[in-house]
Amino acid sequence: MIFFWAFVVGGLICVIGQIMFDVFKLSPAHTLSILVIAGAVLDGVGLYEPLIDFAGAGATVPITSFGNSLVHGAMQEAEKHGLIGVVTGMFEVTSAGISAAIIFGVIGAIIFRPKG
């Protein structure tokens, strides 16, 4: 069942992105930034975790999960060290997405040649 909901929820988040592209005529960078901020705010009010429990990868694969895990890392450290933890804990959880993108970006640049 989780496969079905991953498909539906992930698809719906992409539809929201498509509506921002087509109806509000935003650039991809604007759309993605807004979605990341939305993810952070949703986690702030405690709605993103239930969504992950409900839809699994449908909620962790879209870019909104970046905002969610940034807030999560910050909050984990904040519980231990107070306000200063907000700054130091920021990348604790998200690092996977960003570091994977950077590592595979460099590897890709070594292996592949630009086309056209």
Binding site: I2, A6, G11, C14, V15, I19, S33, G44, A57, V61
Partner: protein, 159 residues
């Protein structure tokens, strides 16, 4: 374009705006949304398959399986981007391939490959995050604001 902005324009600029609006090709919004839904859903479904695999093979929990899944998806994206397949998917799917982390990965990897001719430090290193930069910057900044508010409310406000 807002009404206020319109009033500042010259009369023939206004006429041009009206003309341009009439001629602009209507985007097939509904069709695009269906495509985005199908491809976006499919990418998340693949993500769910990968994380189920990690949960059963490597003892990750539902919560921790997110990270290796994202890394694996970005690895697949590297191959698809390098062979030029991701561009074709993106042309068909629009936001369906841009919104999942694979779109973020594609933005980083394609600019890394593109700027390689300018050298690895000044080309790849400094241009790689050109498209993905705003996402990281505003993600971090908004997370900072949200976490500060939440910390103040929970630790000092006694909620």
């Amino acid at each position: 374009m807002g009404d206020k902005k319109k009033q500042k324009l010259q009369p023939n600029q206004q006429r041009y705006q009206a003309f341009q609006q009439k001629r602009e090709i209507k985007r097939p919004i509904f069709k695009n949304c269906i495509k985005a839904f199908l491809i976006g859903g499919l990418i998340c479904l693949i993500g769910q398959l990968i994380s189920t695999f990690y949960i059963y093979q490597f003892n990750f929990t539902e919560k921790t399986a997110g990270n290796p899944t994202v890394a694996t998806l970005i690895f697949i994206t590297m191959l698809l981007t390098g062979f030029g397949i991701y561009d074709r998917i993106a042309q068909f799917a629009g936001a369906g391939s841009a919104v999942p982390v694979t779109g973020f990965g594609n933005a980083v990897i394609s600019s890394a490959i593109e700027y390689r001719s300018e050298g690895f430090i000044l080309g790849v290193g400094s241009n790689m995050l050109k498209l993905a930069g705003p996402v990281i910057v505003y993600g971090v900044f908004s997370a900072f604001i949200v976490a500060i508010i939440k910390t103040i409310l929970t630790q000092w406000g006694g909620f």
